[in-house]
């Protein structure tokens, strides 16, 4: 029997009971739709997290000064921790071989003024390597240079929003601005930077509202810093490097926990763990719904077989082998679940779009999810269609033909 006649037979067989076939396929439709929709939500979240981590930098490790709690603050005082300082930055560069670039950072919130125009800004005092660790893109001019730092020059690089606020009509480079009474010369302006969508710990600072100045123009006692931004040369070495950096800084701080480490890659790993749990739940729901769908398919196929015993007998008398009969009924079950699967993918796609627009969650339908759902549906057809099909093949043609 050719595949073509097999498919033809299956279609004919199912067409005998259109309503019955449709209803039994619905179980598969909804099962597959649920799987596709849930995987889409999961995939959407994954892509967003990946993009987020991408923005923060998969190669980034940030050491942030500050005690996590009041207890650790008291503890730091008792241990006489020197605090996060330039000396820590030097120690990190010295000990950790995987440091590609490192930028010490001091921050302050100030108002910047250009004549009557004023803007609230985060002032970041740093060194030229910050441009590398953050992968900054300049719209015009240049970034803070080594000479600016060594000579404590009053120069400034403006984030995109600040340039637009302070210099709506003019090119800012070469112009002067003021912070309080101090005059700075604008030497560069940045390209707009895509913002993180979500709030919370993973969000980077809004670089569009930052003004960069040389580290030396914001002097602090004992070389204290707010942050050290480190870029690791190899994404695979980030977590080991982070551990090393933590131990170096802790030792220098005499065991005090007056700093914290932000490692986007670890956040990603945490997320991946959560995603695995999500996938297990999705998998369980999918397995359950397809089990229910499969039982429906088996039920219908058993009814079909019982009803068509005579047809089976006739076919056997015409030269159909047991295998031919098995394949015929298996093809019907497979056809039911495959058509149900395709419809389910379409419905799941629609559901994902609906969730996207209604709940505002990002969703993404991956080809892998579709392939997995269809494969599951087909497997259900074979798994639950096999018994009825074998039942059909087993019946005696003589008995079957005797039936009226």
């Amino acid at each position: 029997m050719t595949t073509k006649s097999l498919i033809h037979l299956a279609v004919r067989g199912l067409a005998l009971h259109k309503l019955r076939s449709t209803l039994s396929a619905l179980g598969i439709v909804f099962g597959v739709a649920a799987v596709v929709a849930m995987l889409s939500v999961g995939e959407g979240a994954r892509r967003e997290i990946l993009a987020e981590v991408g923005r923060l930098g998969i190669n980034r490790v940030t050491v942030r000064a500050g005690s996590v709690s009041r207890t650790t603050e008291v503890e730091a005082g008792r241990l006489q921790s020197p605090g996060l300082s330039l000396a820590d930055a030097e120690a990190i560069t010295e000990v950790c071989r995987n440091v590609e670039s490192l930028a010490p950072i001091r921050m302050a919130s100030e108002q910047i003024a250009n004549g009557e125009r004023r803007a609230e800004a985060t002032i970041v005092a740093t060194t030229p390597s910050f441009a590398r660790t953050e992968e900054l893109a300049l719209a015009s001019g240049r970034f803070v240079a080594d000479a600016d730092v060594s000579d404590a020059k009053r120069v400034m690089v403006l984030g995109h929003e600040l340039s637009a606020l302070l210099f709506p009509y003019d090119e800012p480079v070469g112009e002067g601005v003021r912070i309080g009474e101090e005059r700075y010369t604008v030497v560069g302006a940045l390209e707009p930077r895509e913002l993180s969508r979500q709030g919370g710990r993973m969000t980077g600072r809004n670089l569009n509202r930052v003004a960069f100045v040389p580290l030396s123009s914001m002097p602090r006692e004992r070389g204290l810093l707010d942050e050290i931004a480190v870029r690791i040369d190899d994404a695979g070495a980030v977590r080991d490097s982070a551990r090393l950096i933590e131990s170096v800084v802790r030792r220098r701080h005499r065991g005090a926990v007056d700093f914290e480490l932000v490692v986007p890659q670890e956040l990603l790993a945490g997320y991946e763990r959560a995603r695995f749990q999500f996938n297990v739940v999705v998998g369980a729901v999918a397995a359950l719904s397809l089990l229910v769908g499969g039982i429906g398919i088996m039920n219908i196929m058993l009814a079909n077989v019982t009803e068509r015993v005579r047809e089976i007998g006739i076919r056997r008398s015409l030269g159909a082998s047991r295998d031919d009969i098995t394949r015929q009924f298996l093809a019907e079950a497979l056809m039911l679940t495959t058509v149900g699967g395709v419809a389910g993918v379409a419905l799941g796609f629609g559901l994902a779009l609906g969730i996207s627009s209604y709940a505002g969650w990002p969703t993404a339908v991956s080809l892998r999810a579709i392939a997995a759902a269809l494969a599951l549906a087909a497997a259900t057809g074979i798994g639950f269609g096999l018994y009825p099909a074998m039942q059909a093949a087993r019946s005696s043609p003589v008995e079957a033909l005797r039936r009226e």
Binding site: M1, T2, K4, S5, L9, R12, L16, R310, E311, G313, I314, R315, R316, S317, L318, G319, A320, S321, R322, D323, D324, S396, P397, V398, L401, E404
Partner: protein, 230 residues
Amino acid sequence: MSLTPIVETIEARRVHLRAGKEIVALDSVSLRIERGSFVAVMGRSGSGKSTLMNLIGCLDFPTSGRILLDGSDTSALDDRAQSRLRNRMVGFLFQSFNLIPQMTVRENVETALVYGDRPQTDWSERSEALLARLGILERASHKPGELSGGEAQRAALARALVNGPELLLADEPTGNLDSRTGEEVLELLTELPAEGRTLVLVTHDLAIAERADRVLSLSDGRLESDRRLR
């Protein structure tokens, strides 16, 4: 034409188990059927006529003894080979036609081709030629429920013959037909031996049996008599 008989049964015995009791449907039947002959099988109901037909047609298998169909021992073949043999060698005709009610006449006829080796491109030509020969080509697109008894049995005959079998097994083919249409179908059947095909026909009707070359009588599963008429 090969010298081996188309059918040979050797001590063929078929026992059914019903409710724990053995029922002997056919008991030690040994006979040969020559190619191109017309054999009538007679006997009361329950005498084993249908069982003999099923055994000869490779649809059922003896509990003991052997059935040789075209020289091969049917019990020794696997299901696939048995089915192939049935498809190639045997055409069945039943009292109740046994057409698949949801399919048209043409589809019913082509169902026999589905399980054969002929290329699908030849199917419609082959079945149409046969339907035309049997005078029901204009009913090809009708379903069995729309046919008269005579037409239905012709459709069933077309299906039985479409693979060009050497052996046609007809189990009371005129039993559900009035005498005139019965006679028409019978005339079509009796033409077959002239084409070299073998016809084995189960009947109650002595007048029909007398047209055969040979009449087998069964009683209680045993071969009671074997008369050659010509």
